[in-house]
């Protein structure tokens, strides 16, 4: 009884390991590669012939000429794609309060001409540490600063924001968001075109 059970269990194991651990994943790799070659390799974005990142993975932007993403809790530096993580700070943790307050001050200092309340997503760190998006409010908040630093008209920046905005699924599942890399790529491309014209 026992020996037969062990033999049967062993064979069940072999069959299942082959089907679910090898055949299934490899078959799915093949299907994905044919049907969705862009997504299957990480939705990579190229700029001037080089891979600059993935449209799904946030990256760090600082300085007056870029739109900033959300704070990131990854170590040792923010937006470390090789080590996704969150801060995991609890709602009563004084460290969280200190972090949020410091971010608010830095944000206000960098955006002196911004109007409206400080957008929450720009002072709270995300779940993955790699959030590629910000809210529409967070993008608009930064428009006066970016306009001043780059010289692009505010209306133009607003149009780029609209173009980098993804609407909720079916109109109401999830939130409207602005992809930060797409938005900043629009700025980079426009600047490149300007330079090519000698402007």
């Amino acid at each position: 009884m026992m020996v037969r059970d062990m033999r049967a269990a062993g064979m069940l194991f072999v069959a299942m390991a082959a089907i679910t651990g090898v055949i299934y994943p490899l078959a799915m790799l093949g299907v994905g590669d044919i049907a969705f070659p862009h997504q299957v390799h990480g939705s990579l974005v190229r700029y001037r012939g080089r891979v600059v990142g993935s449209v799904l993975i946030g990256q760090r932007f600082r300085g007056p000429r870029w739109f900033w993403g959300r704070p990131s809790a990854t170590a040792p530096m923010p937006y470390n794609a090789a080590a996704s993580t969150a801060s995991n700070l609890g709602p009563t943790n004084p460290v969280l309060r200190a972090h949020v307050q410091a971010r608010i001050e830095a944000l206000k200092a960098a955006n002196p001409r911004a109007h409206g309340p400080v957008p929450e997503d720009l002072v709270t760190s995300s779940g993955s540490g790699l959030d590629p998006d910000i809210s529409i409010a967070a993008a608009r908040y930064q428009v006066p600063r970016v306009a001043e630093a780059t010289g692009f008209a505010r209306g133009r920046l607003e149009r780029w924001i609209a173009r980098a905005t993804v609407s909720p699924a079916a109109g109401f599942m999830g939130e409207p968001v602005v992809n930060v890399l797409k938005l900043n790529l629009a700025i980079a491309r426009a600047r490149l075109a300007q330079r090519a014209r000698g402007g």
């Binding site: 069959a15 299957v40 995300s126």
Partner: protein, 582 residues
């Protein structure tokens, strides 16, 4: 709560509920050996696997002991092989980033965690596991652990519907196991994986891409066979992520649509199993009562969690953050959440994940408001708000057997369930199955909080720190796998204790349940008389719910007071005085 939040909750429930009914009937057909539309393609595949396993092993009818023994041998073997694979991954193929093998403590914890459908993770996937390990030691047991829970439930249903002429026959473990995989899990995954890839989840054998960021700086982006893992991770109510951030990671869950698909995948089979139960024991009314009670608990949990997260936290309010939704932002408590999901899709996902004991998260529970986090904690303590693959509905039935017994004593009627007399042996076994859960949660939690090697792992202090440890053992015992992730679980103490709690939580209760099933199967069915206490009524459904709430509350209320409830008071006391938290 916004109108859009209500719509999102309602839509999710309606779609999942709508899918669960035909799926439940389909599952019943598969296990009653009736014809299904996939037979022409899959019968030859099944036959081939049966021949490999052995004709006598797959041909025999099993009593509960035989069924449990086959289940245990299969699981022990898988556990050992996974342990070896993880320990030796440095010498195995498909390891582009040259990760070393896992240390014995971590390998034990991970093997125990994945063969039991728990998927507690004391490691960060992208910086610990080779692609081979992700496929052979993670994706593979995601299928088999789901199948194990599933077939145990099916065997128990057969026990309840058995009459003595069939003997104590619970079916054949190997056949059931193969059929779950070929008739349900694999076909669904084959359809869903390409959809997840379409949404942006990668699926490749490339280990890493180096990107030169737009503003300078180099970004190393790990890739791998992600999408195929995501499909079974949710369908199998597993929950172990490819990446450390789990379904918050944009590659695991790129869009609100992928989020909805993953949510539905978690929900459909445990809901469908209630329908299957009604079909197999030929009592659809009873199944409807059970479905209704579980749905009521789930809806309550969803509204509390979404409401609490949308209300936000006083700490952020005092910092000068506007937490009302509108003006282009979502408001609420966005700490540890992703903007593409906002408050609603985040809270729905994590609440569903702990109701159906999947353990996947798209937002970090450690940073939830105390109420939002407590919803997840309580659902795992009750462990029967639909619950994980198979075991959830069994836990619910254990409470039902209890409720019948108590109600019978109260009104002086013979306790019967589905025409089987509930006697001393059944009550002892049901009590043992239910008692395992609080024992393996509360004792290790208390021990960890008293020991320096337990407390040193805390990521937050005060009552929130207590919640972190309590959450870890509750998640392990419920075979959930989600975490208050501030706790550093990768220490010898937590690796070993959590691993043991996971194993007890899984196998001790399953064995007691199968023994109970065996005991019921061997009893002659008694015909219903006027003295029979009816179990398929709304009234009894209410009593059933009350039993669950009272037993759960009596067991866990004291520790909840010390953890999340104390934190609610701390948070709002602070709010009232508008002072700083010290």
């Amino acid at each position: 709560m916004t109108a859009s939040a209500v719509w999102q909750i309602v839509l999710t429930l309606l779609v999942a509920g709508g899918l669960s009914i035909p799926l439940g009937h389909y599952i019943a057909r598969v296990f009653c050996n009736q014809k299904t539309f996939l037979d022409p393609i899959l019968d030859p595949v099944d036959a081939l696997i049966y021949r490999l396993i052995g004709r006598d092993a797959t041909g025999q009818a099993m009593n509960w002991r035989g069924y449990a023994a086959s289940m245990l041998w299969t699981n022990v073997l898988m556990g050992l092989v996974i342990y070896v694979l993880l320990s030796a991954q440095g010498h195995l193929p498909l390891n582009p980033l040259h990760f070393a093998g896992l240390n014995p403590f971590l390998a034990f914890n991970t093997a125990a965690s994945f063969i039991t459908n728990t998927n507690w993770q004391n490691y960060a996937g992208e910086s610990t596991l080779s692609l081979f390990s992700q496929m052979a030691a993670i994706t593979f047991p995601m299928f088999t652990s789901a199948a194990t829970g599933f077939v145990v439930a099916i065997a128990f249903f057969r026990a309840l519907s058995a009459n003595t002429s069939q003997g104590a026959n619970l079916g054949n473990f190997y056949r059931d196991f193969v059929r779950v995989l070929t008739r349900l899990l694999l076909p669904v995954c084959l359809v869903v994986t390409p959809i997840l890839v379409w949404q942006g989840s990668p699926d490749t054998l490339t280990g890493m891409v180096v990107a030169h960021g737009l503003q300078g700086g180099v970004q190393h982006i790990p890739l791998g066979p992600v999408a195929d893992l995501e499909a079974i991770k949710h369908l199998g109510t597993n929950g172990g992520g490819f990446y450390n951030a789990n379904s918050a990671h944009p590659f695991e869950n790129p869009t609100p649509l992928s989020n909805l698909i993953e949510t539905l995948l978690m929900m459909v089979t445990p809901m469908a199993l209630v329908v299957t139960f009604g079909r197999m024991v030929e009592n659809a009314r009873l199944a409807r009562v059970m479905y209704g009670v579980m749905a009521l608990m789930l809806v309550t949990a969803l509204f509390i969690a979404v409401g609490a997260e949308q209300a936000g936290t006083p700490l952020l309010t005092h910092a000068g953050i506007m937490q009302a939704p509108g003006h282009g932002q979502m408001g609420g408590n966005m700490v540890g959440k992703e903007v593409r999901f906002g408050i609603t899709q985040s809270a729905i996902f994590d609440t569903v994940s702990t109701a159906f004991t999947t353990g996947t998260v798209n937002s970090m529970l450690d940073s939830y408001t105390p109420m939002g986090g407590m919803v997840s904690l309580v659902q795992m303590m009750l462990n029967c708000v639909f619950g994980g693959k198979g075991v959830g509905v069994l836990n619910f039935l254990m409470y039902g057997i209890f409720a019948v017994f108590i109600a019978g004593l109260m009104v002086g009627r013979t306790p019967e369930f589905l025409g089987k007399k509930i006697e001393k042996r059944e009550i002892v076994l049901a009590s043992l199955a239910l008692l395992v859960h609080p024992i393996i949660i509360l004792i290790p939690t208390a021990w960890s909080l008293l020991a320096p090697y337990g407390v040193s792992s805390l990521g937050n202090s005060g009552s929130h720190g207590l919640s972190e440890v309590l959450y870890a053992f509750t998640s392990a015992a419920a075979n959930n796998g989600s975490a208050f992730a501030g706790l550093n679980g990768n220490t010898p103490w937590y690796n070993v204790t959590l691993g043991l709690v996971i194993l007890f939580g899984r196998y001790a209760s399953i064995i007691f349940m199968l023994a109970l099933g065996g005991s019921l199967a061997a009893k002659p069915a008694v015909s219903e008389t006027v003295g029979t206490l009816k179990t398929d009524t709304m009234l009894f459904g209410g009593f059933w719910l009350a039993t669950i709430v009272v037993v759960g509350a009596l067991t866990f209320f004291p520790v909840l007071v010390l953890g999340p409830i104390a934190e609610v008071f701390a948070l709002y006391a602070h709010h009232a005085t508008a002072g700083g938290l010290r």
